[in-house]
Point group: C2
Chain length 95, copies 2
């Protein structure tokens, strides 16, 4: 089993209301930032997981998104899978 780092980005679907994004847009306008055409806010979830290979890590993360992390009615998600470096700060795990 290798360790993988999966970055999941969960965003509100285009066209759906995004009150948090609207609030930030308004706040940035108030601070004097011009030329801002849109602001949308979502979540980014970093998962550290063990899997046999990259495809398995991707598949498991997608399943987590469908089951828990994203609302299938209102949100879309994207994944980025990267293999975590072997020699981490956890010390010498020879097995």
């Amino acid at each position: 089993m290798k360790r993988f780092h999966v970055e999941v980005r969960v965003k509100p679907r285009p066209g759906l209301l995004d009150p948090e994004g609207k609030a930030i847009h308004h706040a940035l306008d108030s601070l004097g930032y011009e030329g801002l055409a849109g602001v949308r806010v979502g979540k980014v979830i970093d998962l550290e997981l063990a899997a046999g290979n990259r495809e398995e890590a991707d598949a498991r993360a997608r399943e987590m998104c469908r089951k828990l992390l994203a609302n299938p009615v209102t949100e879309d998600f994207e994944l980025a899978v990267a293999e975590a470096p072997e020699s981490d700060d956890e010390g010498g795990q020879a097995s």
Copy 2:
């Protein structure tokens, strides 16, 4: 002025408490997902902004992060700047 899409990812600093990540970690464990070593949750903010060039877009987004989007004490942020396609669905703006 060109239009740019800036994706800002704001994440809790390593080592700092992340109760939302802990809650998701616990929920995924309860759903039977094994081999999960860590979950961290942050925000992803999509900005659509006008700027003269990519460097200017990057600089303005960084300033927004420092002023409003990220808490400098508890959060780190990363940016990804991309030029938005000219021919959007806004119709024929010839000027």
